[in-house]
């Protein structure tokens, strides 16, 4: 049974994370690991695509809180895309919308980091 999987992909300078399933205190290590992995690779522009994230308990929000300081102090950010209603709702309850930028689509979240250096010269 895999209650959670987290895939990771590159989109230029941006790292995309795809948590799929349920983040609770049991599965959160996997999500935390994916965040820490990006950080250890010095990849600080992170988009979490939440389109397949069904559920997130406070443990998952804590994992983001635990990483955000380091991410931002290195000129990066953690931004969220495609939250479903349940997850959006949890964010709202906690006032996380003041803390994290969320976007309706992955493309918008990626674009929010500005044009990639490669893209500018390659046009």
């Amino acid at each position: 049974m895999s209650e959670l999987t987290v895939e990771s992909r590159d989109a230029g300078e941006v790292v995309l994370l795809y948590p799929k399933g349920f983040i609770n205190a049991h599965t959160v290590r996997l999500f935390e690991g994916a965040l820490q992995n990006a950080i250890s690779l010095q990849r600080f522009k992170i988009v979490v695509n939440c389109s397949s994230l069904v559920y997130i308990a406070s443990a998952g929000l804590g994992a983001m809180m635990g990483a955000i300081e380091e991410i931002r102090s290195n000129g990066g950010d953690l931004r969220l895309a495609s939250l479903n209603e349940t997850v959006q709702n949890i964010f709202d309850i906690l006032g996380f919308n003041h803390l994290y930028r969320t976007y309706a689509s992955e493309a918008e979240a990626i674009a929010s980091f500005g044009p990639a250096p490669g893209a500018a010269s390659g046009a």
Binding site: F22, N24, A25, S58, M65, N89
Partner: protein, 156 residues
């Protein structure tokens, strides 16, 4: 039916009792059970999902704080459809909780100070109408209550 001591008196609707190991592996089951019991009590699916989150948080706290992560203890749960109230109790035999010692999160400070703890308790209180802790017979009882009439106007 049964004269079991743990049964409440009166016309309370039949109750679901569950006893499970203090392992986070069971949290998914706790979430599913709560959602289904909330739906059986008449809550809409979105509200039932929030109630499931609150109970997940309460069970997580029992495992992580009352039992300090020990996986070989027991968590007892009771789900009750009490007419106007949906009530879930979690009982453990672990470390005592002093409700006054539990830090209340000021979400605005939280945002500026970027703490990582206290989120679970905050969610529970936002979602439920009441969250209480009591100690009785060397057991900790955490009781979560949601009024049904408030469903439509749920703050969460």
């Amino acid at each position: 039916m049964s004269n079991a001591p743990s049964r409440p008196r009166g016309r309370t609707k039949p109750t679901l009792l569950v006893s499970l190991p203090s392992e986070t592996a069971y949290l998914g089951l706790v979430r599913e059970m709560t959602k289904r019991m909330a739906e059986l009590a008449g809550f809409s699916e979105p509200v039932a999902e929030k109630l499931a989150l609150a109970v997940d948080e309460a069970a997580t706290n029992v495992i992580e704080h009352a039992y300090k992560g020990a996986a070989d203890r027991e968590v007892d749960m009771r789900f009750e459809d009490r007419g106007p109230d949906f009530r879930v109790e979690l009982v453990d035999t672990g470390q005592m909780v002093d409700p006054r010692a539990v830090p209340h999160v000021d979400i605005d400070k939280f945002v500026t100070e970027r703490r990582t703890g206290g989120l679970g308790m905050h969610l529970m209180e936002k979602i439920m109408d009441s969250v209480t802790f009591r100690r009785s017979a060397r057991r900790n009882v955490c009781a979560l209550v949601k009024h049904k009439e408030g469903e439509g106007t749920s703050r969460g």
